[in-house]
């Protein structure tokens, strides 16, 4: 009897999880897990890094997320295939577009709309009422979820060590039977090891803007929300072995892997049925003529050909086109912009108007681009006029959909300096 941890919050749930996806993967691998799900809050941001780390360890990451709803209990959502993944992304985009930056406003009916192909696990409240029962309002929504999701719906059961675990499991099991919603064990993991509790507490303080001395009940009473060994999970659910079995059923139904997303890139970016490489070649030569006049210096021709073939080889054309498109929009709107970064040191970028550093005047740097671009994806930073940056962002959202842009734009990581300051604040 094996077990898959289906509820894992990483530090990509901003200021909620206290471990990196890599640390969680590492720990899972050590405990002999073959799969874990990553369920950040209203975000798929953590799954990429988890995926990369998992591949090295021979683990499978189930890309998923926790949907915190404004009008109902939270749900864990697991796409079973690529289409379902797209729908989940679409769902999050819908939520992001409704809310200010970094927030996501979702309602039950949104989930109903995008639910095809998703498996959903309902999360029960943390406490029982004075009759030792789950609040009737939860039971009511559970019914509603059951009607909406049918057999896609499951019910989470966790051992939180808050005194009434036995009663809660008993009640959950009753509900599961009554409404035919299978019980699934999870440990609501927030960190890979119990030692992370202090960091978890500090992160909570930063999130709640308080100090460790005033954080009070924002802090968890214990350190049980760590990734536990499989045997320990089996022990904790010894009276409900089906809940352990059920994790495998959910895991096996989720066949979608991030690998399937590899070459997905915006398609509308080319014109006249050209491939991205053809489009880029065309635009680069057009640009070259604008930059250098009718006769392009020999040296430049060689450079352009060299770069284009390299870009083709690495399959980076679409990326250059995207940047070009954004810069073109900015120029049209007379928004000042300037590119920099490893790939910006290329003649192609000069021709496309992304940078204005004349490669004939500076002996470029393409070798630097080449050497770096072989090891990591090309990197072009474009700085926009600060006051009008929002316009560019709106354009990107409009054109590419907010989920694609949002993944890059809204992952706010704590940088070291700010983090040290925040920890200082949290300690009062």
């Amino acid at each position: 009897m094996s077990y898959t941890e289906l509820q894992v919050t990483t530090n990509f749930s901003f200021l909620r999880g206290a471990s990196h996806p890599e640390e969680l993967v590492e720990q899972a691998s050590m405990y002999g897990y073959s799969r874990i799900a990553i369920t950040d809050r209203n975000s798929l941001a953590g799954i990429v890094r988890a995926h990369v780390a998992a591949k090295k360890k021979g683990l499978t990451i189930i890309p998923a997320c926790r949907l915190d709803l404004l009008d109902g209990p939270s749900l864990l959502a697991y796409p079973t295939d690529r289409d379902a993944y797209s729908r989940l992304s679409g769902l999050l985009t819908t939520g992001n577009l409704r809310a200010e930056k970094g927030k996501c406003h979702l309602y039950k009916k949104d989930v109903y709309e995008y639910a095809r192909g998703l498996l959903l696990i309902a999360l029960p409240p943390g406490t029982l009422n004075e009759r030792f029962e789950y609040d009737p309002s939860f039971v009511k929504v559970l019914q509603e979820y059951r009607e909406a999701f049918g057999t896609q719906l499951f019910l989470a059961a966790s051992r939180s060590y808050q005194g009434d675990d036995a009663k809660k499991l008993y009640r959950l099991n009753q509900l599961a039977k009554q409404w035919s919603v299978p019980l699934v064990a999870t440990n609501d993991v927030h960190y890979h090891h119990p030692d992370r509790r202090q960091l978890q507490d500090i992160v909570t303080c930063v999130r709640e803007k308080c100090t460790i001395h005033t954080a009070g009940f924002h802090l968890h009473p214990n350190a049980e929300r760590y990734l536990k060994p499989i045997a320990e999970m089996q022990r904790l659910f010894r009276q409900y072995p089906d809940a352990i079995h059920q994790t495998q059923a959910v895991a096996e139904a989720c066949r979608f892997s991030l690998d399937e997303l590899k070459y997905v890139y915006p398609e509308e970016i080319t014109t006249g049925g050209r491939t991205p490489q053809e489009e880029l070649t065309m635009l680069t030569w057009q640009g070259a003529q604008e930059r250098f006049g009718a006769t392009i210096p020999e040296k430049m021709v060689t450079a352009i050909q060299h770069e284009l073939s390299f870009i083709g080889e690495m399959n980076y054309a679409a990326y250059f086109l995207t940047v070009h498109d954004i810069v073109r929009f900015a120029r049209q709107q007379s928004i000042l912009c300037q590119g920099r970064g490893s790939a910006a040191n290329s003649t192609v970028c000069y021709c496309l108007g992304i940078t204005s550093v004349d490669p004939t005047k500076f002996d470029l740097l393409f070798e630097r681009f080449l050497s770096s671009a072989r090891n990591e994806p090309p990197d072009i930073d474009v700085d926009f006029e600060h006051e009008r940056r929002e316009e560019v962002m709106q354009y990107i959202y409009r054109k590419y959909g907010r989920d694609r842009a949002a993944i890059v734009a809204t992952v706010t990581q704590q940088h070291q300096k700010g983090a040290i300051r925040d920890v200082g604040k949290a300690m009062g």
Binding site: G163, R197, P221
Partner: protein, 498 residues
Amino acid sequence: MSRFVSVWFRHLITDWFSVRQPSLKSKPFVVTAPSHGRMVITAVNAVAASGGLYPGMVLADARALVPGLTAMDHRPNLSATLLHKIAEWCIRFTPCVAVDEPDGLLLDVTGCAHLWHGEEKYLATIVKRLEERGYSTRAGMADTVGVAWAVARFGKHSVIKSGTDTEAMWHLPPEALRLEPEVVERLYKLGLRQVHDFIGMPRPALRRRFGAALLLRLDQAMGRATETIHPVQPAEPWQERLPCLEPIITATGIAIALERLLDVLCQRLVQSEKGLRLARFKGYRVDGKIEQVEIGTHRPSNNKKHLCKLFEDKLTTIEPDLGIELFVLEAPTVEAHTPGQSALWETSRGLESIRLSELIDRIAGRVGADRIHRYLPDEHHWPERSIKPAGSLQQQPAIPWTLERPRPLQLLARPEPILVTAPIPDYPPMLFRYQGHLHKIAKADGPERIEAEWWLRNGEHRDYYYVEDEDGQRYWLFRLGHYQSDQPVQWFLHGFFV
């Protein structure tokens, strides 16, 4: 019009020695200190002074003049310390007493004398009482500090009638103006031997010849320049005084004094819409000791009846001994208290009730305020820290009381170690022994794992179990830390459920 008294101790230092060693009184004696390898006199007593000795003399010379002279060692700071002590004692005559170095006191006695039936009697009492304490005393009373100082040292009449300060100074020598010796010397050289010799001179001429200090001193004496004094005890705005001509020695007398003072103070408080939170009732005893009792209230009060009741229990601790000659009632802590508020509290049944707070004041007065406790919820999972003492009777909880996890109605201040049989690693216990009785556990909830709050203290977590024995008694037990096979497991009983 202000009135001041200046007190001058002619032999402050030697009088102090004589008080401690009465045999010295009739003998010539001096106090000496080493200076440049010689013993030099710093103070002389009256007998020695009449023998022609004076401070500054070399002891050997003095011995030649007065055979059998006794010499005592000089004590640094003695005069300052003495003056301060005597000043505090003089508070029985007025609340505003200042030290006037090197050998005097200044008293602001505005409005005080009538209690002694007039200024002459008042001043005579002050001098008499100080003489009784062994200090040879001269005193002067006038409208200004300057004139009071002058008449105490150089005057014929000690009480200068109000408004006649200038005339009083007329025939006094220049040194009566508290001038530097060089200035005095210069005046004498020019034949200006009395104040009236130069008081009418043009001011610029005086300034040029004798300096600005002379003008200032003149102005101060004439009441043209104000002079402030720095009392040894700062003025208490909410203070009432009741001096008694005949020292009070009976409990009834003390109670009447308190009542009178409360009467006046409460009236003032009511008029200013204020109430006191702290009050101190002091009795100045004839022997110089001060007896005092203090009361506190939980909300501002100017209710005389209530305050009187609070003091009642405590008055018995006042020991009048030979009698109390001054009663002082002061309220160091006073807060706003509008009539509307008290009307509200009068009718309220809750913590706002004025009757309740009066009851609490009374209990506090009898058994001590530290016996009274009220608790507010505090945001801590650790049970002992989940409540905190309330700062006041009215302080409201900042967070709601919650009872998400069961908590025992009785919690032991110190968890009691017990012996427990429990399946490992963390299943609820089956048996425990407490006070020699074996309890078989029939039902249990838990564990509720509560980590030590690492930012407050290190330590192991507690695994709490809410258990019920076969009799139906309910207990709160915990195991400290995780079960570990190589270490003894520590179990505790921490509370009893209903």
